[in-house]
Each structure stands twice: as C-alpha cells, then as structure tokens.
Symmetry: C2
Subunit: 127 residues, 2 copies
C-alpha cells in the first residue's frame, strides 16, 4: 500500500488534443459580453452606438475589443457605409449559426444543473 509509484503517465495525445479543442470552443464564448452580444445581433445588424445602447453598460473600449474578437472568429461581419456620418453595421455571419447546437447543449445542461444543485443541496457533514 505504501508503494505508489504508479505514475499514471496517461497524458495521451488524444486527451491533450481534446482539452485543446474544448478550450478553443470555450474561448470563443468566454468573457462577460460575448453571449449577450451574439444574442443582441441575432435580431439583425446594428451600429456601434446602437449595440452600446442595447447592452446598456458596456464601454466603447470593451465593445470594440469584443467585436474584433467576434470578427476574428468569423461570427460577425463589419460593414462600413459612407453615409452622412459614417455608418458601421455589425451583423452575424451564417457561420455564427454553427454555434447553435453547442449553445443549445450548454443551455440545457446549465438549466438542469441549476435545478439539480438547487433542489438537492449537497450532503452536509454532521458534526
């Protein structure tokens, strides 16, 4: 019992690749504003200021950063129109729909998990 040299190597490449892939996926959804932003744009394209007003609390610096990340991931397209004052529209790409299944799974799991944790408080140690 005192011999525990079983160093479980186990760090298979497949495992590491899986972790990396999941992290990639989590990354594009991470942060405080990605989800609300995608949701807001799902009702149609909006201008910068309009998004700001719709989200209510976000500062231009953060909004700019988030939009750029969404652009890099090809979820959002930025369209500039040479109008009176320039108009910049942000709109979801068709590719952004590829997230739907993932988001659905996450939403369902999140819902049932909250139910579970709420209704079934963990075993309290009785001391």
């Amino acid at each position: 019992m005192n011999t525990q040299p079983e160093l479980i190597p186990h760090q298979g490449e497949a495992c590491l690749a899986s972790v990396k892939a999941v992290k990639d996926a989590l990354y594009v959804l991470s942060g405080k504003w990605k989800l609300p932003l995608i949701l807001t744009l799902s009702n149609g394209p909006l201008r910068f200021k309009e998004i700001q007003r719709a989200l209510g609390e976000i500062t231009p610096k953060i909004l700019s950063k988030e939009l750029k990340e969404l652009e890099l991931n090809e979820f959002v397209e930025r369209k500039v129109f040479s109008t009176v004052p320039v108009t910049v529209l942000y709109e979801l790409t068709p590719y952004s729909k590829s997230l739907d299944k993932v988001l659905d799974e996450l939403r369902n799991w999140g819902l049932q998990h909250r139910q579970r944790i709420m209704h079934q408080p963990p075993i309290v140690s009785e001391d």
Copy 2:
C-alpha cells in the same frame, strides 16, 4: 436615414434566462484546470499528490480550490480512508458523465473551428 430611434428593446426574459443558463454551464468548465482535472480523474480515482504529479504544474492551493469546486458541482467525490498516512481519494461521480455530451459538442466544434480559422485566413484589407 438620420432618424434611428429604433431602440430595439428586445431584452426578453427568455433571452436573459438562456444567457444565464449558458453562463452557468460555462462556469463549471471555466478556469485553467477543470478540464485537465476531469480528464485525469476519468482514468480512475487518485490521491491529492497523485493528481498533482499527473498534472505536473499545479500548486496545492489551486488544486485544492479546483477540487472543492468540482465537489460542489457534484462532479467529484472526496473519500477519506484512515490508513497509515491518511489516504484521500478523489473520484468522478456518475453525474459527471452528464457532461459528456456537452464536452463532445464543444470538442467537435472546437476542432472544426480551428480547421476553419487556420485554413481560411480572414480577408486581409489590401492597402
């Protein structure tokens, strides 16, 4: 064109609830170590020090914190045995399997997304 008072209220409760649910789900997977930890334990229960050695870089403080969070979410069970030096085993619960579908979706999406972003570099503005 200059009248843009369309203040898109749109903050429906269903939307907000979805965001909350997805955030709940993301939360339990967030952080640097949750995924590697779950993966490491999926090969069978391990002791504290064994996990530390298997992960390689994690400090005891962080490992302790992560394990407590996994316990709170009922993904991991902590079992204490009154052996020579005390033995503490951490093992995945059956409930942790409920994450499998979610993780699978995330993994698949992450894989295809990396392919897409890599093979199809974004349109570079030609100036």
